[in-house]
């Protein structure tokens, strides 16, 4: 299936090169229920760069830096394009920072971050496959285990 079958958008954001299986998780981080305009989503698309990719096209909305950073957690090779009047105005290669501050929840029930008001901090041990470590309890999480704050 060719990507061009997804309708082009006039203004908004296109997130490309998402691993197919993570497309729904990415949509969920962005709180789509709060969007006022249509979102087009496709997955299981052929890709030269990866096995099978997903694409999300969001009409009339631009992402914040913090949203772009969250995308990087699940899709370190994604590209985010800003579209204005059907033209790509800017192409952002997402980048995972070395440290994720206030982005993830530690799901360890005996971690201090679940007992006291502490800003969570995770060190990125590896990008792919993702491995992050809680700065406090030192527990290591993989991609399927991380809980991204909404």
């Amino acid at each position: 299936m060719k990507e061009r079958r997804i309708p082009a958008i006039k203004d908004g954001t296109v997130i490309d090169h998402i691993p197919s299986r993570d497309t729904f998780r990415i949509i969920r981080i962005l709180n789509p229920q709060e969007f006022k305009y249509p979102i087009n989503l496709a997955l299981n698309l052929d890709s030269k760069k990866m096995d099978s990719k997903g694409v999300i096209k969001i009409n009339s909305r631009f992402l914040t830096q913090s949203e772009v950073n969250k995308i990087a957690i699940l899709a370190p090779n994604a590209t985010v394009s800003i579209i204005k009047n059907y033209k790509v105005m800017e192409k952002i290669q997402v980048k995972l920072p070395e440290e994720l501050v206030g982005v993830l929840n530690c799901t360890n029930p005996v971690c201090i971050t679940s007992k006291e008001i502490v800003i969570s901090k995770f060190k990125v041990l590896r990008e792919e496959p993702l491995e992050v470590k809680c700065h406090y309890c030192e527990r290591v999480y993989g991609k399927d285990e991380v809980e991204i704050k909404r």
């Binding site: 201090i112 008001i117 809680c134 406090y136």
Partner: protein, 304 residues
């Protein structure tokens, strides 16, 4: 090397040269230095009771001429009423020069270090870290064997949940050693540790049969199987008696093998081994004082 003002929270905070330096200072601390920390106050904040760790820290501070204040059970403090670790530290740092914190909540010590402007030493944070135990284990090995390089070290017992084993293995991996992990499959060393050790060039071997590897070991580090770490009590029942070492072990070891244990034991090592030249676990515990003296002096910048 300058340790003044540093926190001691996790095995991950140390380089090899840090460890070598701490061991060197610990050796010097075997001597009496009754005035070294004169006028200094240690706040020992024990949010859960731990007699051994607390007594060892208190002894270390008193032997260096310092004083200790604190509490040793959260029931007697306002912590139960909801006072946070953060607030407790903000209060305690005004009364003391160095803090030791012990808590069942993982990451408490790291948070305490961020709250405090004075050095914080982790006296154990749940299943996470217990760096002074790791250092006294390392010190004991070096003291008894006169070296670390080239040793063959066996770990026996609960290697899955046992934090002392994880920390000690990581610390030892700075040296070229060989490690054998002896446990039932369900309690084996987590795979990510094995992977990390192998990436550092450590030869690792896993088995459930202690006699398979014991003849070549220099150190056998035994841990107890801790009930509280098991999510399922039935699992615990299945494994609690997995290993019970007794004098039959003597037919399967080198003359120089030393047996270590972080104590307390609950039957993993029969008392009949205590009087053999292999048992060093009581000496190991006693080494905790020299190591804690060294750490207190180091973080207060008074080791010389």
């Amino acid at each position: 090397m300058n340790f003044k003002g540093r926190d001691v929270i996790s095995v991950r905070d140390f380089s090899k040269s840090d460890l070598i330096y701490i061991l060197k200072i610990a050796k010097e601390m075997e001597k009496e230095k009754p005035k070294l920390l004169d006028g200094k106050i240690l706040a020992a904040l024990f949010f859960e009771p731990s007699t051994r760790t607390r007594l060892s820290f208190e002894s270390a501070m008193f032997r260096l001429g310092g004083k200790v204040l604190g509490f040793s059970d959260e029931k007697v403090t306002s912590v139960k009423k909801g006072e946070t670790v953060w607030d407790t530290i903000k209060m305690a740092e005004r009364y003391s020069d160095v803090i030791v914190i012990r808590s069942p909540v993982e990451g408490s010590a790291r948070l305490a270090a961020e709250a405090a402007s004075i050095p914080v030493i982790n006296g154990g944070d749940g299943a996470n870290q217990h760096p002074t135990q790791m250092l006294l284990d390392l010190y004991t090995i070096q003291k008894i064997k006169k070296k670390i390089e080239g040793l063959k070290i066996g770990f026996l017992g609960d290697l899955k949940y046992g934090r002392t084993v994880h920390s000690l293995a990581i610390a030892l991996s700075f040296w070229k050693v060989e490690m054998c992990f002896i446990a039932p499959d369900a309690l084996q060393m987590p795979e990510h540790y094995i992977k990390e050790l192998r990436e550092k060039g450590i030869k690792c071997h896993k088995t459930s049969d202690v006699f398979e590897v014991s003849p070549k070991l220099d150190i056998l580090y035994v841990t107890r199987i801790q009930q509280e770490r098991f999510p399922d009590p039935l699992e615990y029942e299945k494994y609690k008696n997995a290993y019970r070492l007794d004098i039959t072990l003597l037919d399967h070891i080198k003359k120089e093998l030393k047996i270590m244990h972080p104590l307390p034991r609950v039957g993993e090592i029969n008392a009949e081994l205590d009087d053999t030249e292999h048992a060093i676990y009581f000496e190991q515990a006693a080494n905790g004082v020299a190591v804690r003296k060294a750490l207190l002096a180091l973080v207060l910048g008074k080791e010389k």
